[in-house]
Structure formats: structure tokens, C-alpha cells
Symmetry: C2
Subunit: 403 residues, 2 copies
Amino acid sequence: MATQRAEQGHMLIGQSGGPTAVINASLVGAIHEAQRLDAVQGIYGALNGIEGALQRRIIDLRRESAATLDALLNTPSAALGSCRYKLQPDDPARAVNLMRELGIRYFLYIGGNDSADTAHRIAQAAAEMQYELRVVGIPKTIDNDLPLTDHCPGYGSAARFIAAAVMDSARCTEALPGHYPVKIIEVMGRYAGWLAGAAALGQRTPDDAPHLIYVPERPFDPAQFVQQVRATVRRRGYCVIVVSEHLADAQGRQIGEAQAQGQDAFGHTLVEGVAQTLVDLVKTELGLRARFDKPGDEQRMATAHISRTDRDEAYLAGRMAMRYAVRGVTDKMVTLVRARGPRYACETGLADLASIANSQQLLPPAYLNADGTGMTPAFLAYARPLIGDPLPEHATLRGERLA
Amino acid sequence: MATQRAEQGHMLIGQSGGPTAVINASLVGAIHEAQRLDAVQGIYGALNGIEGALQRRIIDLRRESAATLDALLNTPSAALGSCRYKLQPDDPARAVNLMRELGIRYFLYIGGNDSADTAHRIAQAAAEMQYELRVVGIPKTIDNDLPLTDHCPGYGSAARFIAAAVMDSARCTEALPGHYPVKIIEVMGRYAGWLAGAAALGQRTPDDAPHLIYVPERPFDPAQFVQQVRATVRRRGYCVIVVSEHLADAQGRQIGEAQAQGQDAFGHTLVEGVAQTLVDLVKTELGLRARFDKPGDEQRMATAHISRTDRDEAYLAGRMAMRYAVRGVTDKMVTLVRARGPRYACETGLADLASIANSQQLLPPAYLNADGTGMTPAFLAYARPLIGDPLPEHATLRGERLA
């Protein structure tokens, strides 16, 4: 690792990609660290990430009060605004010229795979243009799909929301199984099943919901799905199913993808979304009433489910990114490194931005059970510390019958 | 009100209809009151409401620990199990015969309109059969659509969830408006807009989400909807919309209803659900990316959003139902009566079960703004005390631009 001390200069930070419940904690961590470092003069924020920076939409973060920064630790979503902007060929050089003009020596970028690619290309351009710029990425994604880091800030809070929401929602089905015996809950996660798997964190007994989890790592077989739902309803009287937003069959066809013309993989027309497609399949093939919950963006954002652990780690990643940059690190992303030993603890490391940008971390096979519809104890041990405080306990009646 | 003291006897309680986050608080309130009343001997619970009672699926609630009862105050869903069972012609007499056989003198039934009808018919049958039975209903519904009560236990917690979820989810759209500029959030409420209206409780400024609310009390006009969304996106850059699950056009056609053959109101085929239909409409008519959240049963059940006020009132309604029954009241439902004056307070009253059963309380016109897409200060003043503690405050940056 390079440790040369940078020139004094300004710092610019941006937020990119899908917001999370704790992405602002990383922002605040970086600002707090910048405030105490002599090498950092101006503390600037790019509105809507690199897209806004290239439009010179930049704010002065030294003008924000300490109270605002503290409150941002419990405020979900990207306070600077975010973007999903793919760099055009000229953009890296434009960005470096802008930073040179403004005297920016430190560029911190909070985001996922695509944001790592953006940051990497700007770091490369700065090197080619011989402008001394330190570029450090701060990981962020509810999808938990970045490689080279134990997990990603943002995942723990979203996982906590999903575990709690599935616990809650399943109780409704359990209390009234005859009404809608099959419930499907569609969760995010892109092409990885980390979020869907998190639903298992609320299970207390093997019979608890979710009874079936379908993740993108396994090909989805509609016939097998129908058989598994039928078997669960026979055994339990109802079935609560968690599905990832992206499922594909063995031929790689997305389940529930909208098609302007023709039919989807199951022969239905104009159906959109995995959950609705599977609800239709249950109705058609099993003749059972089914419905779905789709928490949508609430799973990214739930203020009430911010994991303290997740928030603290997001803050730490922000602090450390600033510290590493001033130490001379560039073209790297901060990673989270889990300490060995029985007690959960986490520190930070570094990985090449380029190796983050072009890779995706899927669920390892050891985290999925034999038929791929449930999580193993190894997954639960991995994920449980990340969601922070224990989940609520729900009481049940012992229910002793009258003699 | 009859005040004759009842014979000593057993009490039977059941839970019916869609569960809520606080329906167990009513159960516990009734049990606690029964425990301290000499007139009540056995305290029995019907599993899955009247449907289970008729199958003699009855448990002994005196066998439950104090700790379990306390924990049920924070456990959503119906601990006894619920039902949606329409009484058959012989059922009221069968129920009365069962109660006579078991020595049950008090029958408390927690539920909404349909449950009030069930309880009323059993009360009538008991009177006709000259069996002295005191039947008292305890109101319960997230839909808040029961008449003759200021509001319904269950509504405050669901309203709190919706207000918080819309605040959270809207921040995601606000941070990244270019990605999906239109967000639609589909909420429950049957044929009343109380829950959809609750989304307005999170607004801090007139520009805050939700920008448009569509409730069942007003006919839905697709052309006007398209125009209103277009205008909001032009003004704000994005648009967050809350829609009730049941919307109908001026001809009474349900929006988004599945049709086995043919087309829905907008000419789309096989689309199901309001939110998906409106997403398609936005895409087609405005060419904008749109997506939807559908919290589903989580809005009934969210442990993290139990309103303390709602829970306390649910508990009070349960206690008072037991107390009224022992005082000789029958064929009535407990109501909530809001005290006059600047400080919110609530006590209980009574209404005829028959007048609850056959009526539905919709949003009064004074609670909807002129074009029917937003809520008035009168609604906010009505609803705000019901959601308990203040909603979380989200911080925003002052965002001073670089000179």
C-alpha cells in the first residue's frame, strides 16, 4: 500500500446507485474524519453522484451543522442524491480536469459494482493525466453482491427488514390459513439471493415461515415449485414463500418478465413481476388462493429497521476511506473483514476497485440447503450478526384444549 | 343500558376477520378483566373464531402464563387464530346450544362488520332460545370502516406503518428520480380510503410525498390520473402516488381486476391489481419508468410500527367489553368515543351490533381536498393522535453550492 502523504487539498464525496438505509452513515463517517484531518481543506459533496459533479452541482459540506450530520445517521436514502450514470468516453478526463480546477485531491465514492467501475476509471484517468488524486470507494449495496468484502454496508439493515417483515406477514397467513393459504413475498437482491436468504433469520423452528425460498443462484423449475408448494400446504395447511426478484429457468428465461408481445415462460400474457407470475401459477396448477407482498423500496429504506451494526460499519467504512486516501491509497475500495473467533467483530481492509467492478459475489453453495429452497446454519451464522439487535419475539398461546 | 348482574358463568372469546397488529391487545384486555371479575369462572378461547367454536376447538385461557399475556401485547396477528366464516342458517342455534352445554354466559367477539353480524345473530338466537347470554363485540379493523365509533383499534398501527413506509420509500425516489420517476404504493382499506389517506401523515411540506392519493370514495378517471401524474413530474421531477386496493371508474368497473377473458377497463389483458395496472398506464401514456411497492400483509402486522395509542385503546376495548358484559350488556359493540377538547383522549361507549353489521364508514368529504387526491388538515387532525409517538424525523442537507 502506498503511504505517501498527499498534498493538502479538497475532498469530494458522492453517493451512487440504489440508496440504502445507511448510505448516509458512510457519508457522515467520511465527513467526520475529513474534519479532523489537516490534509483536508474543503469538504465537498457531489449532488447526484458523478453525474451531478460533471454538471458542477457541488455543495460545501462544511456548511452543514453537526446536528444535521448526527441526524443523517438515522436518515435512510442518499442525502446528496444518487445517480445511475454510465460514464461516457470523455467523462473520466472531464472529471479529472474539474477536480484539478477545483483543487480536489481526494475523491470518495460510495456505491456498488457500477460505482466501483466509475471510480476506477477516474483513478486511471488521473494517473494518465498525472494529476495526483486519491480515489477510494466505499462499499454500499443492499444486495450484498460485492466480492472481496465479507459483506456490504446496507445489507444488514435490508436483511433485518426482510426477516422482520416475513415474520410479521407470515403470522397473518398462519392465523387465517383458509383465506389465502399461499403467500409469496418478492424481495430484491438483483442476481444474488442474499436478501431472499435473510428471510430465514426470523425462523425459530423448522416449521416456521418462510417454508420455501427461491434464489437466483438456482434455476427455477415451475413444475418442481408447484410440487413443493403442494407438499408444504399438505403438511402445514399453508405456505409462505420468499422469492428473489430475478429468477430464471434452466434455459435462462427470466420468470415473470414482461413481454410486449407473445407469452412468458409459462404461457401467460403480459404478466409482469415474479410474484404475480407465481401467484397465477399457484392458482392455475393447485387451485389455491394466493397473493403476494412486494415491499419494494421500503426494504432499502426502512428507518425502523436500521441495524445498529450495519450503521456502525457503514460509518466506519466512510471514516476509513478518508483516512486511507490521506495516507496515499488510491484506486481501492474499503472492504469489511470479519475477525476470526466466536465473537463477531469487523475491521476494514482494501481491494482493487477494478476487481470489485467486474465481479459479483453470489451465495456460495454451502449456504443453500440440498434442494436449494432453504438456508443452512452456516448462512445463518454468517448473516445473524449483521442485522444488529435480536429480532422481536412473538408470543404464542400454549393452547390447552378444554377437557 | 341493562345493568342486571349476570349469573356466574364462563366467558368465551374469539378473534375474527383480518388480523391486526393489536388484536391480541384486545384479547389480553378481556382476559385481564375476566381474571379480576368474580362473575367470570372459566376463560375460554375459540380457535379460529366462531368456525372453530362450532367444531369445539376451544382452549382454556386460564392456563396461559402472565408473561405470555404480556408478550401478546407486542405480538401482531390473532393468537387464537382467526376465520372468515359466514354463518349457515343453523349455526346461531348450534352456537347457543354449545354455550349452554358448556355453561358459557359471556361471548366476546373481536372483529369488523362481518364479525358484528355473526355476534348479533348469536345474540338474537340466544334471546329466542331464552338462554341468558351476554354478547359484546370488540371493534377491530385496519380499514377503520366501522360506523358509530370514532375509529377502530388496528387502524392507528396500520396508519403508522403506511405513513412511515411512504416517507421512507419516497426518499428513495427523491434521491434517484431519473431511475423510476413514478412510484405507486398500493395499500389496503377495502372500500374506504382511511389507510390511503394515512400516507399524508408523513408530509412535512406541501411538496412532500405522497403527491397524489387515490381513494375508493371518488371515481377513478384514468385520463385525469395521467394528467395529474404528468403535471406532478413536470413540477417536482418525480411523483409518488398512493392508491387504495379498490378503485373503480365512474361506471363502477374495478381498476385492475383480473378478467379470465377479455380486457380490463383500460384494454389491457390479464393484468391483476391496481398498482400494476397504473404502472402500465404511466408507461404507456407518459412513457415514464414506473414501479410499485405493495406492502401487503405487512401493513396489518408490522411489529415495529405498533402505535402505543392504538395498542392501549385495543386493550381498553377488550377490558370494557368484558366489564359491560358482566354488567348485563348484550348485542352491543364497544365503541371508541373521542373526548372533546384540545388534548386527545378516548373513552368507550356502546352501539348496537346490528347497526355496525350493515353499514360502512367511508371518508367524509371534508377529509378530502377539492380534487380528491390529497387530505385536508381536518383529516390530519383526526388521524395524527391515533398513530402514537411522532414519526421519525429525516434530516436533509442545506446544500449550499460552491461559489
